[in-house]
């Protein structure tokens, strides 16, 4: 082998050698260099699809995961690898950039919600034969359209200009799963809210609901901008969120998102709206638990008054 290089054994999880004779990288190579070298040998696996881990100790439980080789880290200095060392390869499957998924899943709701509002006569009246489809829209229906659309426009703008993603990509199955979720809920919520036989709530309840929603959307935006500032230096590592609402809540951004939809549903009152809020909240609670655990591991002594949902949790 060439001087100043090391030859690593690349194994599958079942122990099969994937690169015969080993993969040669420079002594000072990083995880990214390893991935580039592997991709050069096996063009089917671009770096975003590769995951390398240190081998799991002999006889360990099947569920134990090996230590992952993180981006930017030195193979020799951070993981003690040298010639003959083994690393495990895992194929993460076809990947799609995070931003692509976000833009697709957020643009869809605009396309799915708005027709029921702007083409109300054509959809409910002409196609479905319901009466009252050409009656003027109620104030709550117009506001709901503005709040719903505004929310997703905000998300699109955040994706383009605010967020700094930890990972560049995610498995492509998520694209279809997420789009189905957002697009279907947008359509079904819109169908009932813009229906000619929609029953509005009282005026004060509507105002209170939208006021909560507006305030929470601003809080959510503020949280996102703050989180973005933690990575203003261009790094992708995790920093401890301490500012703004994050002083009291681990996932203040999720808090604002959940209460935003609570406000929206107080104002618009539909079963599907509440189901959507509940599904989103359940997912966010799972994420908040994982985030809290991760921050506790990364920053010893980390604790917050609430994980995600003051004053409850």
């Amino acid at each position: 082998k060439a001087p100043g290089t090391m030859k690593l054994k690349i194994l599958s999880r079942s122990g099969r050698e994937l690169v015969s004779g080993g993969l040669e990288v420079k002594d000072g190579a990083t995880t990214d260099d390893l991935k580039a070298a592997f991709a050069a040998k096996k063009p089917k696996y671009p770096p975003s699809r590769q995951r390398f881990t240190l081998p799991v100790p002999e006889g360990a439980d099947k569920k134990v995961r090996g230590v992952a080789l993180d981006a930017g880290k030195s193979l020799s200095k951070d993981y003690g690898l040298q010639t003959g060392s083994k690393v495990c390869f895992k194929d993460l499957g076809p990947q799609v950039p995070y931003a692509v998924v976000f833009l697709a899943e957020y643009a869809g709701p605009l396309a799915c919600y708005l027709p029921f509002y702007f083409l109300r006569k054509e959809i409910y009246g002409d196609t479905m034969g319901l009466s009252g489809a050409d009656a003027p829209m109620l104030l709550v229906q117009t506001l709901a359209m503005l709040f719903h659309s505004g929310h997703y426009l905000k998300r699109i703008l955040e994706t383009l200009f605010v967020h700094h993603f930890s990972h560049a990509t995610m498995p492509i199955a998520n694209l279809f799963k997420n789009c189905t979720y957002y697009w279907c809920f947008a359509a079904i919520m819109s169908y009932f809210i813009n229906h000619p036989q929609y029953t509005p709530v009282g005026h004060s309840q509507m105002v209170a609901g939208f006021a909560i929603s507006a305030l929470m959307q601003l809080g959510n935006l503020h949280s996102h901008v703050y989180q973005s500032s933690l990575r203003a230096d261009g790094s992708k590592t995790y920093k401890e969120p301490k500012g703004g609402l994050f002083r009291y809540v681990t996932c203040a951004n999720y808090t604002c998102e959940i209460y935003n939809w609570v406000g929206f549903n107080i104002a618009t009152q539909s079963v599907w709206g509440w189901v959507f809020a509940l599904c989103g909240s359940a997912q966010m609670v799972a994420w908040a638990n994982a985030k809290h655990r991760r921050l506790k591991k990364l920053f010893p002594g980390f604790s917050r008054a609430f994980k995600i949902l003051p004053p409850f949790y």
Partner: protein, 181 residues
């Protein structure tokens, strides 16, 4: 007389009682995934109770008879394998993990046929439907739901069927290696 008239009460009683299989999975008394057990139970119970039992004209159709036969054949093999557990003879285990190959599609097609034939009655009686207007702004048209379910059924069936094949590969290989020991 039809199969349904003769055996209907028993099939209904035991099918509803078999929710226990979902609970056993949920409380980890068995190793089955809860989602698979739940999907199976909900699918069968829906067709049996909500559709066939609720629409008498469906009960004397061939589809109803075929469905009962398919279910009966499957269960008459499956439950003894549970009862015998580790003493289950190799041929019975093989039967359990092979007979689903024809019976599952036959069962699924019969379920779809029953739902399809029931649609006119569902529509005429607006069965299980909630109409607008109401304070919760919620509407549910059961006929539309069943129509969409019929479209989704092949996909749902496929995922359960594929899971069964994976299980088959695992379980039949296991018996082979145990035999070789």
């Amino acid at each position: 007389a039809s199969v349904y008239a003769d055996a209907g009460w028993y099939v209904r009683a035991f099918q509803v009682a078999s929710v226990l299989e979902v609970l056993h999975a949920a409380f980890r008394l068995t190793k089955s995934p809860v989602s698979a057990a739940l999907m199976q139970w909900v699918g069968r119970t829906h067709v049996l109770m909500a559709v066939t039992h609720a629409i008498p004209e469906l009960q004397s159709t061939p589809a109803a008879g075929v469905l009962f036969m398919a279910w009966a054949l499957t269960e008459v093999i499956r439950y003894p394998t549970y009862a015998l557990s580790l003493s289950c003879p190799r041929w019975l285990n093989w039967l359990r993990y092979t007979i689903f190959i024809p019976l599952y599609p036959i069962g699924a097609l019969s379920e779809m046929k029953l739902m399809y034939d029931g649609i006119p009655t569902m529509r005429a009686n607006q069965m299980y439907s909630i109409t607008l207007p109401n304070a919760l702004n919620f509407g549910f048209d059961y006929t539309t739901f069943v129509t969409m379910l019929l479209v989704a059924y092949p996909f749902l069936f496929y995922s359960l069927y594929a899971y069964m094949f994976i299980q088959r590969k695992k379980k039949l290989a296991l018996i082979q290696t145990r035999k070789e020991d």
